[in-house]
Point group: C2
Chain length 254, copies 2
DNA sequence: TTTGACATTGACGTTACGTCAAGGTGTATA
DNA sequence: TATACACCTTGACGTAACGTCAATGTCAAA
């Protein structure tokens, strides 16, 4: 059972260059060298190559693989579980992507109203803006980078289901806000419901809710045109109304 | 709405180096350069960057992305559907990986019999060997490289479901073969069932079935110790028995 | 005035190989 | 026996998509 470099490469489905490379970096040395200087591989090397390729398929770096297959006290189970977790995360992200692509296709085929898609874009934009408002520039120093990154990861790592929840939540918020505007009282039942929904919506991005931060954001909604524009497109004066509702909800006013 | 390179990078979640690189390769040029030589980006660039990142997430190369976002007559729908197909494939592969990892973990925790895992290894090995027998060396010239590669891709690209089917199929084959051995007649009902199952199993790897090739493989099962070893571990003489059954099934004998 | 954050270009490093180039080896065939 | 041809070797440069210095300039705040 002796294999030339090419035979082994064909069996395993890799290039012979790959095998030379693995030899070079000490990941898989041939069993020996024959009189002509050719690499000779045996059954052991085939097994080991399969192991290597297994881990490679899992997305590990060759360095990582070397550590794994070389270490005598290697806790394969632990590493595998860690990797499984990573794979599941990856699939979640992939599912989100697929949902997005599907949505984009559907939108461009006119199966769903284009407005929906615009809203999607708008929200995505607002997420980033909100986040930047709270954690941007000045706040970055205050809260530390980990928190910013955490929030960003939160948005990015959202599953399809989470995203759908978020979307229906923001729909409720919009509807409630409209109804509350008709009622006319930010401190009224509907106004306070809107504020509560807004808090729920916020909790998707912030780990640590505080009335102060919430109220601060509400004030920004009016001060910053990017936000007031967004809410006022629902109805004129909506940004101000929502601000007042939140200020009352958080106990900052009246 | 003017953004510095860093602001834009933070909003979009990429590094400023990335933006410089995109400028360098002409993928995303800043809106302008200010008096200090700083890059200045605007709303248009933000939108475009999000588009770029969207496609990047889908796994496209920057070159590919440039083509898409640069072409004015670009058929977005067609490209999107292609991407969707690619994504779905990717998820299939991921599912297979996850299933494999799960299996490996389960095996190492003793939740499933280790033999199952060994069988898995054995089968994978045998797939490669079978394939090499049919398409290796001498046959490679005859059948052409595309066919070899096609078969290899077939094995690698198998979905979890397909793999499960394949496995249950080989289980049936083993059971039938055992029963047929007890019956003792390769031409009998059970022997012929085994041959039929073997043909089905083969069809997972070969696109073009022919009785000649099938019979050829059956002869190899006895001639080559790698195969006879595998089948004889089911029961002594199994390889020979299977060969005879296949020869009868393909009309090459009696 | 100095500090510190931010910007610039330039250039080398990284991973996991692909792809020549220049040459030696082994064997089937004219 | 010559030669064609597939296979092997090492060496070295190329690739993608940035990361990571280095050296230097800009700008606002203390």
């Amino acid at each position: 059972m002796e294999y030339s470099i090419q035979k082994l490469s064909q069996m395993a489905g890799v290039s012979s260059r790959t095998l030379r490379y693995y030899d070079e970096i000490g990941l898989l040395k041939p069993a020996g060298i024959n009189s002509s200087g050719y690499r000779v591989y045996g059954k052991y090397e085939l097994d080991r190559l399969q192991q290597i390729l297994f881990y490679r398929e899992l997305g590990l770096s060759l360095d990582g693989i070397r550590e794994i297959v070389a270490a005598p006290d290697f806790d394969g189970n632990k590493a595998l579980k860690e990797h499984q977790a990573r794979l599941l995360e990856k699939r979640q992200r992939l599912d989100l992507l697929i949902a997005n692509v599907e949505k984009t296709i559907a939108a461009s085929e006119g199966r769903i109203a284009m407005q929906d898609n615009e809203k999607f874009e708008g929200f995505k934009q607002k997420m980033i803006d909100d986040n930047e408002k709270k954690y941007g520039q000045e706040a970055r120093a205050k809260y530390g980078d980990e928190k910013v990154d955490l929030a960003n990861r939160k948005i990015k790592g959202m599953s399809k289901e989470q995203y759908a929840e978020l979307e229906s939540l923001s729909n409720s918020l919009n509807d409630t806000l409209k109804a509350a505007l008709a009622e006319g009282d930010p401190g009224g039942e509907l106004g306070q419901k809107a504020a509560r929904l807004h808090r729920q919506w916020l909790s998707y991005f912030w780990d640590d809710y505080s009335p102060e931060a919430h109220a601060g954001l509400a004030r920004m909604y009016v001060a910053d045109e990017r936000f007031s524009e967004y809410y006022d497109q629902i109805q004129a004066g909506a940004a101000e109304f929502l601000r007042d509702a939140i200020l009352i909800y958080t106990g900052m006013k009246k």
